[in-house]
Symmetry: C2
Subunit: 176 residues, 2 copies
């Protein structure tokens, strides 16, 4: 028999703006039912959602059916000039994201650009990345809607509390 034109049917739809952050942490935009088959492949233990609104029923059902823990740390996004993501909120989200007991973990917001980008940027801070390269990655996912306030938050975020906690719990043994 002749080989198939495509060896694989290429039918797995990851959510837009999907990427790996670390070996056990993923990021994406808001996953919808058409992405569930893809998400199953990740073998997720947890999902951390950064929107303040209620999570959709079909997503909750998917998590429940697959034994995936659900964490929510609502952020309103950095909208000039009055809305700011607080350092305490970032710290709370990092405590969930860095804990290996919650991995593999998917972090998402709506577009996977700003709130997710802020959190990933702060993870890179803890990994000792230069700000230049943290922003290179931030812009890649946020483009064309990069926000100076997001980058400022990543730069100015006071990581002393989470750094102390993560060090004490041995959470900083990242793969890179």
């Amino acid at each position: 028999a002749p080989p198939p034109l495509l060896a694989a049917p290429n039918s797995l739809y990851c959510p837009p703006n999907f990427g790996m952050v670390l070996g056990s942490i993923y990021r994406s935009s808001f996953p919808r039912p058409e992405n569930f088959a893809f998400l199953k492949k990740l073998g997720l233990k947890s999902v951390l959602v950064l929107i303040p609104e209620p999570y959709p029923e079909e997503n909750l059902t998917f998590l429940q059916e697959n034994g995936i823990q659900f964490f929510q740390v609502g952020m309103s996004g950095n909208k000039e000039p009055f809305v700011h993501v607080s350092h305490a909120t970032i710290t709370k989200a990092l405590e969930i994201a860095l804990n290996p007991a919650n991995h593999p973990l998917l972090i998402h917001c709506n577009r996977g650009k700003h709130r997710t980008g802020c959190l990933v940027g702060c993870i890179r801070r803890l990994q000792d990345w230069s700000l230049t390269m943290i922003f290179d990655e931030y812009r890649r996912f946020a483009f064309p809607k990069t926000r100076p306030l997001d980058q400022q938050l990543i730069e100015l975020y006071d990581d002393s509390e989470i750094y102390e906690r993560a060090s004490r719990n041995n959470w900083l043994t990242f793969r890179f």
Copy 2:
């Protein structure tokens, strides 16, 4: 003593356009000496470079000093209308990239946009990703210089040979 303003000095420079492809495959632009400290953290076993030109002496020395294997599959990039990356070249590069004996592996070209983007796109094909989402990722790294010929190569690449070989060798047990 008061805590330091920054818990970490944020001094690790990854190469621009750096990202994880899979748990054991990374991608980036051309790494230079200022990136070597970062590369060390990856614990690389191999580097696969997709440019046809000779590799710089200082990069070769870095690889040698760190026991990292060097693979080169020269591609000239898809430049309209006469230069095309051949399917055979992609297959040759995939044979190196997919082999777990070579992992962790870094794939790079010059900018980490086009040649690397083509190869990663073909890996996503083998992972059964939809073309829509393969191109979403391709464009994120290639922006603002996306090339239709690159996307066409990813779409039309005949993966039957590599698929057969990868299946036979059990190379398709990707993490996602």
